[in-house]
């Protein structure tokens, strides 16, 4: 049985769910149930896909029976199924959080009825992008998720959200147009848009043409992934959206861009032609992003800047094009999706409990709500890369790979990575000190909610009750679930890293992917066709094995 035959369900289920929730638009309770059930089913399916490719192997399915170079293929391998599972777990947690918020607010704040269908379509787009084995289908996946994200971004249509939405929509459309132009060029040059077929045919092109196509794709994906010179739109547009929406955007959307970059670099254009510019971009992304974060006084904006900054780590791992580097990058993507999303969810809770997400207004939360403090502290330390956590392990893997590579630029990136990690700790510690540790009276403009509480707590039970309404159990529960999931990535880092390294090996080798799509007799070009080629893959797995 070909397990990839079930892959299209990962896209279909959310779309059908979206249709159903759209029909149920007047029954918010049924709508919530349907969307949670559908997303759970999708997650189960994806877990099964991951389990069946856990030990390696790639399988592909031809949609509608059209043969590979012409029809649409969907490919399941370790990397794509790992991304699917992580992204669906995160989306499920965010969905439960959002329904909790909707119920607590009595559906007055925003048209929550539109939220569910749109959200499911977003999930479908993300799944489609991860599974696609065809450049144009990848584009369609991007468009599905982007169009859904436009709606989510401007949910409620308030002034700030519309303003942020305009920037976001225009930037996204421009990047999509660039992507589409690149697809047209690729088709013009090779006559195919199937990625496995392209892997064979792009190698035969003139180097000038090939580099042009390569740069166009990298720029298009770089805008979506928010790599430094192309990242200015992100901190501008993310913070204004509702908390769960920002959380899911921060977790998933940029990572889809990173995923596309990984596929471009490994499958379509192997070799190290653009490794140096990518490394420079990675260094600048890390440093500029985190410096931006230090200047912010709003927690959401600060987190948006750390998001940009940490994309740099993934690009760094990708740019090394070694098994160790790429494996660490794969692990880092999985880690970062989870952690960044949980931090944004906690920020949403801070906003509810403390009345604001501005560090000038929020204070004393550690005393008011110890649960919230723990929920913030664990992922925050994880993001900064404090030793036992997965953030540390991912960064360690990247730095090891950098040292292994040993070029001056790689060392510069290693230093930049350590510096960024320290500055992240500084930024996060500022949030901790201000929002959690200092007394409300010491804040510049303490929110009335914070000052009112001591009087209430004097009456005993009242304070406890106020806490429950301010922090609904569903929201705290789903955040807690995601934080535990993040800690789980730490606990199971050994097997995960092994899978990540294996997937990196498979991606750099390409044989498995091309054979899965085009059949076992497809010729696989030698890895080192144009330039010196990627690092010798032979001796690197040993480095990967040692780690566990």
């Amino acid at each position: 049985m070909n397990i990839a035959s079930f892959a299209p369900l990962a896209v279909l289920l959310p779309i059908l769910g979206a249709a159903l929730t759209f029909l149920l638009i007047r029954h918010s309770k049924a709508q919530r149930t349907v969307s949670i059930v559908v997303l759970s089913l999708t997650l189960l399916l994806e877990c099964w896909l991951l389990a069946s490719v856990w030990d390696g192997g790639t399988s592909a399915v031809n949609i509608g029976g059209w043969l590979p170079p012409w029809g649409i293929v969907m490919v399941v391998d370790q990397f794509s199924s790992l991304m699917l599972v992580v992204s669906s777990s995160v989306s499920l947690a965010v969905l439960i959080y959002a329904t909790g918020q909707g119920m607590a607010d009595g559906d007055q704040d925003a048209p929550v009825s539109i939220f569910h269908p749109t959200y499911l379509i977003l999930v479908a787009g993300v799944s489609n992008a991860f599974l696609s084995g065809d450049l144009f289908n990848l584009y369609v996946g991007f468009e599905i998720l982007l169009t859904a994200s436009y709606v989510l971004m401007t949910l409620g249509g308030t002034g700030p959200r519309i303003r942020a939405g305009v920037t976001y929509v225009v930037v996204s459309v421009v990047s999509s147009v660039l992507f589409l132009i690149a697809i047209a060029m690729v088709y013009g040059a090779t006559g195919t848009i199937n990625m496995a077929d392209l892997a064979l045919k792009l190698a035969e092109l003139d180097p000038g043409t090939r580099n042009l196509l390569h740069v166009m794709l990298l720029v298009a994906f770089g805008i979506k992934a928010a790599v430094f010179p192309l990242s200015f739109w992100l901190p501008d547009s993310y913070p204004t959206a509702p908390a769960p929406v920002t959380a899911v955007f921060a977790g998933l959307l940029t990572k889809v861009g990173v995923y596309a970059m990984v596929r471009t670099e490994t499958l379509l254009f192997p070799g190290d032609t653009f490794n140096t510019p990518l490394m420079v971009a990675a260094l600048l992304t890390m440093v500029v992003g985190i410096l931006g974060a230090l200047a912010q006084s709003d927690i959401k904006r600060l987190l948006s800047f750390t998001l940009v900054s940490h994309i740099g780590y993934m690009v760094f791992g990708l740019a090394m094009s070694s098994v160790a580097g790429l494996g660490a990058a794969v692990f880092y993507v999985a880690h970062h999706i989870t952690i960044q999303t949980s931090l944004f969810l906690v920020t949403g809770l801070i906003e509810r409990r403390g009345g604001s997400s501005s560090m000038d207004r929020v204070a004393g939360l550690a005393k008011l709500s110890p649960v919230l403090a723990v929920l913030f502290f664990v992922p925050a330390m994880n993001l900064a890369g404090i030793p036992p956590f997965s953030g540390f392990l991912g960064k360690l893997g990247l730095l090891q790979a950098g040292v292994q590579l040993g070029t001056p630029l790689a060392y510069a990136l290693v230093i930049g990575g350590v510096l960024t990690s320290l500055l992240t700790l500084l930024a996060i510690a500022r949030v901790w000190n201000r929002a959690f540790w200092r007394k409300p009276e010491d804040a510049e403009h303490p929110d009335p909610v914070l000052l009112a509480d001591p009087a209430e707590s004097a009456t005993g039970d009242r304070a406890g009750k106020a806490n429950v309404t301010l922090l609904p159990r569903t929201m705290v529960g789903s955040t807690l679930g995601l934080v535990i999931f993040g800690v789980g990535l730490t606990v199971f880092a050994g097997p995960l890293f092994r899978v990540a390294d294996q997937s990196a090996l498979v991606m750099l080798d390409r044989t498995s992917y091309i054979h899965a799509v085009l059949g076992d007799d497809a010729p696989v070009p030698a890895l080192s066709q144009p330039g010196p080629g990627p690092d010798p893959a032979g001796d690197q797995p040993a480095g990967g094995q040692e780690r566990k």
Binding site: T147, G165, V166, A184, Y187, A295, S357
Partner: protein
């Protein structure tokens, strides 16, 4: 392979005008620019399909080379649908901007402006600490719950803000409500 020069010229003109228009601040022009860009791209895809040929309906007598390449047309159809959806959404946003702001211009990000204007001096982190911080203070100022800035030593503490010199108390008042650095609390951001 022959190319259609008219199509290419039109495509180039559309790209040029489109790029010019999306650099404007007026939203309607940005929308027109986006439409031109997407349509130019559709023409580009059409061009990549090669020369014109017969409709790709199979018949035994036609040589394979005489058919037109149908794949780019399928791609164009998809991309037309997508750009249609985006255009409709952009129109909605533009209308909403007009309703809210009575302006067809892209608005500045208030928080971004505020951060840009904030002096690098931070009251909490950078104030001169006016009291003895050793473990064995001479006077117990500050430990009795009294504000540290009430200390006599602190009265003449000054800080440098950009190019001015202020004393520490005035610097603190820079961030009071009503000063330039403060934006009114936003309505939709929490605060239940």
């Amino acid at each position: 392979m022959s190319v259609n020069l008219t199509l290419l010229t039109v495509m180039g003109a559309l790209y040029a005008c489109g790029i010019y228009l999306i650099l404007e601040r007026s939203l309607t022009r940005v929308l027109l620019g986006l439409m031109m860009l997407t349509n130019a791209t559709n023409l580009l895809i059409l061009t990549t399909g090669g020369y014109a040929g017969l409709a790709p309906l199979f018949s035994k007598d036609t040589a394979p080379g005489e058919y037109n390449d149908p794949l780019p047309q399928a791609l164009i159809l998809t991309s037309i649908v997508i750009s249609f959806a985006v255009t409709a959404f952009m129109l909605g946003i533009i209308y909403r901007t007009w309703v809210l702001a009575r302006e067809d211009e892209i608005q500045d990000d208030a928080e971004d402006r505020r951060v840009a204007k904030t002096p690098s001096f931070d009251v909490e982190d950078d104030s001169v600490i006016p009291v003895e911080t050793s473990e064995f203070p001479l006077t117990m100022i500050g430990s009795d719950g009294q504000s540290v800035s009430d200390a006599p030593d602190g009265a003449d503490a000054t800080v440098k803000v950009a190019d001015r010199k202020l004393d520490a108390k005035k610097a603190a008042s820079e961030e009071q409500p009503g000063s330039l650095n403060i934006t009114p609390p936003n309505k939709e951001g929490g605060g239940q």
